[in-house]
């Protein structure tokens, strides 16, 4: 601590505040203040203040539930795929560890939209995926992948998978290998050592990864728009549409606010349990 080095002088007491000032001011003006104007906008319509909220919940409840359902599905799929890969990189990759970590991040250096368009190419009618599934008689001759729930949830899973893998990897990496060895010396099966030692110690990573996947997936509308039909429309599309096309600002703002409120409550409850440090 350099703060203790120069004692309790006035300058060093002020130092941390001067250091955080520019960034924190920026966040106050362009993150906190907008949240307040958003709340104001949401109650600024004609009629009683809750009018827009009534319409938001009444007309678009189905979109909220669909978004939460798709995001939950994508999070579970990402966990099922991400955990084995994170485990493999942390415990079994040896010298390949850094290379594999790089490979996990690398696809995300091509634009999110271009990647999603690539999925459209893969899942297209007459494309390779449909052809393969039809040959295997999993899909009916006239069956499609594009414009289905499977395509949308698959796209969401793909786009947020690294946010699941990296936190799990970090928490697995921290585990003391001797604990696992000790467990294997004492218990007989590796499965039990995994269940009683590795899994509990990796739970912070699982929680952080789940949040970092679930939150952006809930608000996303690109996957639903490019890979789904209007039947798969998510709440993000509605918000974007109301804000930028219809320009019903009170309704759009109340939709955003409900979405944020639902998610923030969950996150705050979680942060209370684990401490915000765990999220980083």
């Amino acid at each position: 601590m350099a703060g203790t080095a120069s004692g309790g002088s006035r300058r060093s007491r002020l130092a941390p505040y001067l250091l955080v000032a520019p960034g924190i001011l920026w966040l106050l003006v362009f993150f906190v203040a907008p949240t307040i104007t958003l709340a104001q906008t949401s109650v600024s319509g004609a009629g009683p203040w809750y009018e827009a909220y009534g319409r938001a919940l009444g007309n678009y409840g189905v979109h909220f539930f669909r978004s939460l359902r798709y995001a939950l599905g994508a999070t579970l799929l990402a966990l099922a795929m991400g955990y084995p890969l994170a485990y493999f990189i942390a415990f079994r990759a040896g010298r390949l560890k850094n290379l594999l970590l790089g490979l996990v991040v690398l696809p995300f250096f091509t634009t999110f939209l271009v990647r999603t368009f690539a999925w459209k190419t893969i899942l297209n009618d007459g494309g390779p995926a449909v052809w393969l599934l039809q040959q295997l008689h999993i899909l009916d001759p006239g069956g499609r992948l594009l414009d289905t729930t499977i395509a949308v949830v698959g796209g969401l899973t793909y786009n947020f998978l690294p946010f699941m893998i990296l936190p799990i990897y970090v928490s697995l990496e921290k585990i003391d290998r001797r604990l696992v060895e000790a467990a294997e010396d004492l218990y007989s099966t590796p499965l039990e050592a995994f269940r009683k030692v590795v899994l509990p110690l990796s739970l912070p990573g699982v929680f952080a990864g789940s949040l970092l996947t679930f939150i952006p997936a809930t608000g996303d509308f690109i996957n639903a728009q490019l890979l789904g039909s209007p039947n798969q429309q998510m709440i993000g599309t509605v918000i974007q549409n109301q804000f930028l096309e219809v320009r019903d600002y009170p309704l759009a703002a109340s939709l955003s606010f409900v979405l944020m409120a639902v998610i923030t409550l969950g996150v705050l409850a979680y942060a209370r349990v684990l401490g915000t440090e765990e999220l980083a």
Binding site: L19, A33, L38, M81, L161, P216, Y249
Partner: protein, 270 residues
């Protein structure tokens, strides 16, 4: 039985890696396509046409230039702001530090559609016209948290007594900062800046709300689904990927070297 379980785990891991790269292969492959119509979604025949003429579409070229300008500017500002916050959080105990922590985490746990729309509602309220400035403002806003948290995670374990030693030996504060502090925190800052740059270059949702009539590269790609989707989009995407690969490789090597020189363990990217 034990071996079967291991094989199964490893198999799943390799399949997931393959899944991660499947669309990337498609993007690269289709950059060599000569599509039948305006939309590069169906394979027709191999061609080097798009690669030999990557800037054939003026608007695409302009959108890429805009994206690079936005990314450069927002990365510069966000890296400075974020690094200062990280230094404060790792080196001082102060009242309000947990509030600062919370304020850093909240933008990451807010869906982009909410960040973008609330910023738009602020700009509408104050009659600010959307354009280059509002895009940069938005990008700095979401990058500051990533930079601060990345730099903090990287410098948490460092030995700050080195600074005191330098001061005890009579080095003036500026000299201590440039000769001791900066070399210690530099790898973390570079990693954070690269992350901020990549996030800015890739951002679509927040930008859509605050771009006005300006068109960044992701916004161009989004619009291309209606008018024309030329293979040049894939060429530029592949080029970005190759450049990132080079940058990533170079930083990992550089970090390993500097860390090894100080006898520290090597954990890049995490």
């Amino acid at each position: 039985m034990r071996r079967l379980g291991r094989w199964l785990m490893d198999g799943v891991a390799w399949l997931v890696l393959l899944y991660l790269f499947l669309p990337i292969f498609v993007i690269i492959l289709y950059s060599f396509n000569k599509p039948a119509g305006k939309f590069n979604f169906v394979w027709k025949s191999f061609s080097l046409e798009a690669w030999s003429n990557p800037f054939a579409y003026e608007a695409l070229y302009e959108s890429m230039k805009l994206s690079l300008r936005v990314a450069a500017l927002s990365t510069l500002v966000a890296t400075i702001f974020g690094t200062l916050i990280a230094l404060a959080l790792t080196r001082y105990k102060f009242r309000g530090s947990s509030a600062v922590n919370l304020l850093l985490v909240l933008p990451l746990t807010t869906p982009e559609v909410v960040l973008g729309s609330s910023l738009l509602s602020l700009f509408l309220d104050f009659n600010v016209r959307s354009g280059f400035n509002t895009i940069v403002i938005a990008h700095i806003m979401f990058s500051v948290s990533y930079v601060a948290l990345t730099v903090r995670a990287r410098i948490r374990g460092f030995d700050w007594t080195l600074e005191e030693a330098a001061m005890d030996l009579g080095a003036p504060p500026m000299r201590v900062f440039f000769k001791v502090t900066l070399p210690i925190i530099a790898p973390g800052i570079v990693a954070a800046a690269m992350l901020a740059f990549a996030l800015s270059l890739d951002d679509f949702i927040i930008t859509l709300f605050n771009a006005g009539n300006r068109v960044t590269y992701p916004l161009y790609v989004y619009g291309a689904r209606r008018a024309a989707f030329p293979p040049q989009i894939n060429v530029l995407a592949t080029a970005i990927l190759l450049l990132s690969l080079l940058a990533l490789g170079a930083t990992v090597l550089w970090q390993q070297r500097t860390l090894r020189q100080r006898g520290m363990s090597v954990t890049p990217l995490a």
